[in-house]
Amino acid sequence: MNMNRKDFLRKIQELEFAVIELNLFLDTHPSHQQALADYNRLTQELMNAKIMYERQYGPLTNFGYAPSQYPWQWALTPWPWEDDYECKEDMACGYMKKS
């Protein structure tokens, strides 16, 4: 996979969004087999994406949830408020643009 960090992060955010929605649906419909199958498939995809991302760009979580390369990446990679997210057409930030 040859993606830059922001595209990769966005891919993770998209997968996570789908997984959250399915999770909330399943909370009140625990026996819905199709939703559960979708949830399991996307969860696997999300877990793989996170592992690949963390290998390339440093850990997303700390306190024992992900290993780090030398030097300690947790302190050195960008924080969530330091990322300047690109504004894409389908994003809610569209209306904030100065016209």
Binding site: Q13, I20, L24, D27, P59, Y65, P80, C87, M96
Partner: protein, 94 residues
């Protein structure tokens, strides 16, 4: 119980200075009916829920609301940071 992920759940970009909006966001964040209060209410009300579905959905809604806590201050921070608004400036408005 808490895991910090070094990323936002949803991408945020602020491109204009808007102290009035910033004031609304900070109220929504920690105000009387803000995210902080709502998240805590969901996460405490869940203890009285009688059925598994209700326990699950209230827990997850509480989690979702506390995730918004990470997005909103970042939004607020950008409003201030990228636009030369000072904090004192912000409090004078409204």
């Amino acid at each position: 119980m808490w895991i910090y992920e070094k990323k936002l759940e949803y991408p945020v970009k602020v491109s204009s200075c808007n102290p009035t909006l910033a004031s609304l966001i900070i109220e929504q964040f920690g105000g009387a009916d803000g995210e902080l209060a709502a998240a805590l209410r969901y996460l405490t009300q869940v203890w009285t829920m009688p059925i598994p579905q209700a326990k699950a959905i209230l827990t997850d809604i509480g989690i979702s609301f506390s995730k918004l806590l990470t997005i909103k201050p970042i939004y607020f921070n950008f409003v201030i940071k990228f636009t030369c608004c000072t904090i004192s400036n912000f409090y004078r408005i409204d």
